[in-house]
Symmetry: C2
Subunit: 202 residues, 2 copies
DNA sequence: GCCTTAACCTACTTTCGGTAAGTTACCCGG
DNA sequence: CCGGGTAACTTACCGAAAGTAGGTTAAGGC
């Protein structure tokens, strides 16, 4: 009879925006970008469509904002995880562990960030790329400290390979979560990388 | 004044379907899935929209069909390339070379296949995955022949890493074609893989 | 030469992103 | 306590593009 939420409440802009992003993230992850309608998000927020447009400008804008939040979260998480480490191996392994754990516990965000990316054409595709750039920069740095003599282009290539490998392995894990643990995934990944780099290590 | 094509010709179904797929592949690659309208494809085919629906059922259906064709082409190409080789290293290297060459010369198909995937929600996303499965099966086979004692789950993990790494490196190449040649990309990739696998080789 | 059939078209409905123009509730100074 | 200004919110609409119903024309077989 009565709606679960006591009755439609008036919220401050900041509060409403956060709620909208929460809902959007969930719905986008549920149906994918295309199959998600602004009306549905508005409904689930208990608000009418023009409010979404007032705050986020467009469907792309809303998606973009939701992704930006997830991106920041992922970056913060991995960076923090790497902070405590000392050796390059340890840095990379911790970063990867944090990455796989993030994917494990935020499968919604991850789906939205990586598994359903170019869904949205110009702007947000860029955001996905930026997310990767951030991770790339972290990785290239580590590689460089480990193999300072390797040519730049090779380090960059390896970085791309690692990024792609991580995403793919993480995606595989979302489909077969029982096949391999988060820790093992991170271990395989970093082991694989070090072996691959070994010819260039001092 | 007069249209370039002599005048609108009546074509057989098979002929028209092929043409539609050609046009669709190009237009989808140009604007991305979302920004492509069925009207535009129909126009460029010199035909009206209902014909597209008659033959492919829906926008998704058309996209799906175009992807299926590219997928088959990629598979055939890589498989053929691997056929002539003898050692596992050689097989993998040739396969990767074929892959990077395919991407290089069919950037349209590739963009459609890999760079803009989940654009289309349920059905065709599956096709992209199937494409990867095909490549995965090829690769896992090679890895197994090289490191028969490694646990199955590890081979599969490595396969995922390799697939992801290849895609990522190929995508990077499309943005920086001058940084690295097709051959070098394939070399780095396979070298990286062999090193990574070396602990498990007999 | 007719007649079936398959290629093709015009003209429409529906859905959904996006917007214009207003209405209501909350807060704050007097 | 009260009025008024602002910001949260709504209804009612537009236009573009996906998808469809039903009719028309040209090619090929007998």
């Amino acid at each position: 009879m009565s709606t679960a939420t006591p009755r439609r409440r008036r919220m401050s802009r900041a509060e409403r925006e956060r709620q909208m992003l929460d809902v959007a993230e969930q719905v986008f992850a549920e149906h994918g970008y295309r199959a998600t309608s602004m009306d549905e998000i508005a409904d689930r927020c208990g608000v009418s469509k023009p409010m979404l447009y007032e705050y986020f400008g467009s469907k792309d804008g809303l998606f973009h904002a939701a992704m930006a939040r997830s991106k920041a979260e992922l970056y913060e998480t991995t960076q923090k995880a790497m902070a405590g480490a000392t050796t390059p191996q340890d840095i990379l392994r911790r970063g990867m562990l944090a990455y796989f754990e993030f994917v494990d516990s935020h499968s919604g965000s991850f789906t939205m960030l990586l598994a359903a990316p170019l869904t949205v054409p110009p702007e947000s595709a860029g955001l996905v790329e930026e997310t990767r750039q951030q991770q790339s920069a972290l990785i290239t740095g580590v590689l460089k400290s480990f193999a300072p003599d390797a040519p730049e282009v090779m380090l960059e290539s390896f970085t791309e390979i690692i990024i792609g490998g991580c995403e793919r392995l993480a995606l595989w894990r979302t489909r077969h979560p029982d096949r391999i643990s988060v820790e093992d995934a991170a271990s395989h990944m970093s082991e694989f990388c070090w072996q691959g780099l070994s010819p260039y290590a001092p």
